[in-house]
């Protein structure tokens, strides 16, 4: 089997690498966060603390996998699976390199957006089925936040789609041969970045799981590997959003030829992963109503304006 789009080897490699990267991000994030907070972070287990992930995994696998007696058992169990499944499915359309990818889909952008919307069910079901006040509050917030940020996440992408003339992520990457879309679509990039943070509920917008206010939000009642799936799912979402930004705005695998395309892709995505961690280190959480009004009253008009101007420019040239 060769390394080509859709071969079993490629699919296995992508699945394995993505999950391992998401798990390693636990260590990367703790280490980077602590550097930005003038600490050292986990550096005891193995070289540079790299085996911290193994220790965490052993701990999380051997924990009691407890379902609260008052929870709705079926939805409680499937909720963490949903987030893992939809995010791993989203990786199917990501073009990692010219010859690496799962499917070459004509509707890649739409597929990713659809899967991101389905991800909202995970947090909603998780919070609802827990039968816990904090979890309910968290899932309420999550539902509203994800639904509203979904809107202009899609609209901010339309500029890119209009410029490249395709929903196919591979075509979008190839359309960036001359110039990365971050230059003509800078506003779209900023909006997509903010919406991406909100979609993956990472820290400046981690209102659904705000520890200081509502325990752990929608996964308050989760423990053991079910919690681990939410946890890894969050990091998978981080990797997904970073990959999407790389593909849509920063030319995907494109780069000078002295490095193979997959390395260029990984480097660009890595920069964005580090940037998301920096966001977590630097920016405090907004209030819930601030988040909503900022989204609907500022980002939505801005993304519509961006789309309008992009359309005018495309039509006039």
């Amino acid at each position: 089997m060769a390394l080509e789009i859709g071969s079993g080897l490629t699919i296995g490699l992508i699945l394995g690498v993505v999950i391992v990267v998401a798990a390693m991000l636990i260590w990367v994030e703790r280490r980077l966060l602590s550097f930005w907070q003038e600490r050292l972070g986990p550096n005891r287990v193995g070289p540079f603390g790299l085996l911290q992930v193994v220790a965490d995994m052993i701990k999380i696998f051997t924990k009691e996998d407890w379902v609260p007696p008052f929870a709705d058992r079926l939805s409680f169990v499937i909720a963490p699976a949903i987030i893992m499944i939809v995010i791993l499915l989203s990786f199917a359309v990501i073009p990692f390199a010219p010859n690496i990818g799962v499917v070459d889909s004509n509707i890649g952008v739409l597929f990713v957006l659809a899967m991101a919307s389905l991800g909202a069910y995970s947090v909603m079901l998780g919070g609802l089925s827990s039968d816990n006040k904090y979890a309910l509050l968290g899932s309420l917030r999550a539902a509203a936040q994800m639904v509203s940020y979904e809107v202009f996440m899609g609209i901010s992408l339309l500029g890119v789609v209009a410029l490249s003339g395709s929903f196919n992520l591979r075509t979008i990457v190839e359309a960036q041969e001359g110039m990365w879309f971050v230059i003509p679509q800078f506003v779209g990039f900023v909006i997509f970045l903010i919406a991406g943070v909100a979609e993956s509920h990472r820290l400046p917008f981690d209102i659904p799981e705000a520890e200081q206010e509502i325990c752990a939000g929608y996964h308050t009642e989760y423990s053991g590997m079910k919690f681990g799936m939410f946890f890894v799912g969050e990091y998978l979402g981080l990797v997904l959003v970073s990959s999407l930004i790389t593909v849509l705005f920063f030319g995907g695998w494109m780069g000078p030829a002295f490095l193979p395309p997959i390395i260029w892709f990984a480097a660009k995505a890595g920069v964005f992963i580090a940037f998301f961690i920096l966001l977590r280190a630097a920016i405090p959480r907004p209030r819930y109503d601030q988040l909503m009004s900022y989204g609907w009253l500022f980002l939505l008009p801005l993304s519509l304006l961006n789309l309008l101007i992009t359309g005018v420019v495309i039509l006039s040239t």
Binding site: F35, W36, R39, L40, V190, A282, I283, Y294, F298
Partner: protein, 179 residues
């Protein structure tokens, strides 16, 4: 509009840059077991019982430390030597209760009980946290090198009558008519 952009984007970018530059500053962490922190001499750590310059126990079993102790971790029993000096028959500190507040050191009239900068006192068995007098007693004088309670206090013991202590005048003979 300008204010909104300034508040929402520019200030965030400035913050991000400031935090990013922290990558190049030195971490504050002291990597403790490899790297010992500097312990200040007046740090309140492990409790010891000191001896006076003559090598005798300073503790006079007055029980003030046990009374002052907010968590009641000190237990002792008074006994008396032939020459009239008091000493603790046993002196027991339960370090699993001790909160290192230092009240016992402040209460002690003879500077016997003192807190040291040592803090590495972890044990696997809880019973090992209970220290008896032979564990607590050190050979030296601790922080107060020249202090000897029975030389400066008016307490009467064998070989030393009232008024014979340092900086002390003999007691007034109230039955004498002389000024």
């Amino acid at each position: 509009m300008y204010k909104l952009i300034k508040d929402t984007l520019i200030s965030q970018v400035v913050t991000l840059w400031g935090v990013f530059m922290k990558l190049f500053t030195k971490a504050d962490t002291v990597q403790y077991p490899d790297e010992q922190p500097y312990m200040f001499p007046r740090w309140r750590g492990r409790i010891i019982l000191s001896r006076d310059p003559d090598g005798e126990e300073r503790c006079v079993a007055c029980n003030l430390c046990a009374v002052a102790c907010p968590v009641d971790c000190i237990a002792l029993q008074k006994a008396e030597k032939e020459d009239g000096r008091w000493y603790p028959e046993f002196f027991r500190i339960n370090f699993s209760r001790c909160i290192m507040c230092g009240f016992c050191e402040e209460a002690c009239p003879t500077n016997a009980i003192q807190l040291t900068p040592d803090f590495e006192m972890a044990e696997y068995i809880r019973q090992d946290m209970v220290w008896e007098k032979e564990d607590l007693l050190i050979d030296g004088t601790g922080k107060y090198h020249d202090y000897n309670f029975y030389r400066v206090a008016g307490m009467q013991i064998k070989n030393k009558d009232k008024g014979e202590a340092l900086n002390e005048a003999p007691p007034v003979d109230v039955r004498s008519l002389l000024p």
